[in-house]
Amino acid sequence: MNILSLIMIALKALKKNKMRTFLTMLGIIIGVAAVITVMAIGEGSKESIKSNLSGMGSNMINVMPVMNEPGSVRMLGSNMQTIRQEDVEAIKKLNSPNIKGISPVVSANGQAINGVNNWPTNIIGVSTDYLEIRRLNLKDGIIFSDADIKSFAKVCLLGNTVVKNLFPDGENPVGKTIRFNRIPFQVIGILASKGQSSFGQDQDDIILAPYSTVQKRITATHYLQSIYASATSEATSDAATEEIKNAMRESHHLSATEDDDFDVRTQTELLTTINSTSSLLTILLTIVAGISLLIGGIGIMNIMYVSVTERTKEIGLRMSIGAKGKDILLQFLTEAIIISIGGGIIGVVLGVTASKVIALILGWPVLISEISIVLSFLVCGLTGIFFGYYPAQKASRLDPIEALRYE
């Protein structure tokens, strides 16, 4: 008996019980569709977090102060006064091929005022590299220069949210003067909008100014809150981190036994953390979907047992006219596999459609991976073989005399 006639016979048998075949398939269809949809949503959100993060800055490295004396008064890291401009210079002096840009960061809260309009926001003192590190673009105007930094120039760049609140009439702020905590700043540029970060933070609610100006006029300190740097690529990120650490230790005169009084974080680390959380979620959901596939498989097994009992006489007849045990086994196995693979195909179509509909209606990021489709088919085929085998084996071991006499 060749494969083609096996399939023909199986299809004919399944056609005789269309409703039963469909209901049995339904278990598999729902399972596969669920697996594909869940994986598509999981992969999609992972992908969108990834692109969001890399949009925050390219291969960003962040140096922050930490407390290193257990007995001392505990303070917020950003209030601690351990990072200074000298550290930035020390890192710059490395001239490392792994580090692309570096910027000190010092920030303050305050009220920005333009005429009758005011808005509570953040002023961030940075150097010119900051825009590239954070992937910020100018919509209008120019960036402040190194000369502006040296001369403590009172110039600033406005984020979109600040522009909207201080200039609600839509006039161009470039060239205008605003006040931040009573200090006048001339607006020399506007940042292109970046929207919300993946953590729901408004990335447009900022004012950028030369760090020297912010230190002198607003915070009145010599200290920095943090240092932002960027590695040349993802591959050099670890090397750059190591170099920055060493430069910092040297600059802080730490002996070999002392702990770091700062913390260097990379974006890759953050990405890994987020990925592992969302992976865990995807795995859990996939397991749940997988269980429904398993139940579908049990459904196949159940119906195949019924089918074997119901067709005992047919089996007896087939055996009496020359069917071997193997022929009967293959016949029933083929039926089980057709049910499971057929259910798989419909399930994939349904899952892909559901994912697309979710993306369209709810606007969720969705990514249908080929792997999930291939995997579903593989699992379906195996389900068919696994759950179809025992009933088929039962059929193949029937005694033809008994089977023929079965009523």
């Binding site: 060749n2 006489k313 006219i321 020359g322």
Partner: protein
Amino acid sequence: MMAKILEIENLKREFIVGDETVRALQGISFSVHSGEFITIMGSSGSGKTTLLNIIGCLDTPTSGTYLLDNVNIRQLNRNALAELRNKKIGFVFQSYNLLPRTTAIENVELPLFYDRNISSKVRKEKAFEALKAVNLENRAFHSPSQLSGGQQQRVAIARALVNEPVLILADEATGNLDTRTSYEIMALMQELNKRGRTIIFVTHEPDIATFSQRTILLRDGKIQSDQVNCNMQSALELIAGLPKADKI
């Protein structure tokens, strides 16, 4: 003398039921030559069915020899028996055993599915030929539920013929049919026999036995008599003598 196609020598078959041993066949010997038409008769419990199962290669004897077309089936395993059934034997059952919701021609094709060397084209041709031989070529695409009992049995006979077996084995093949249809089936059997088919027909109806050349009577697992039928009747002639069937 024609070739012996079936040779049975001191055949015994015992079943163990609980603690008891049931001796269904207690030493049976006979042989069948090619082209013979034999009926095996006997009341229930005479060992008829057991003998039939063994002749049909569905069962193997406890002792004794059974040569079918010079093959000793005693030592064969399940698969080899299945192959023998496929190639050498055509079964006709009392309850027809056609697959429901499957056309006549597909039912006839069935034994050929289990022969790897037959292409689907040859299979169709052979099935059609077999249907022609039982005068049902115009019902090829009817399903069993659309056929009368006699027609269904003829489809079953076509199925038994399709693999060109050395032996056609009929088990109470007229048991479910009325007298007239029974005679029609017997006429068909006689015609097939005339064309050279060897037939073993198991029945408990004495009038059916009169259509065969030879009758073996079984009793309590032994052969009581094995006689050549001197005045064999022609089923066709008998049908002509029957009152015409009521036309509706």
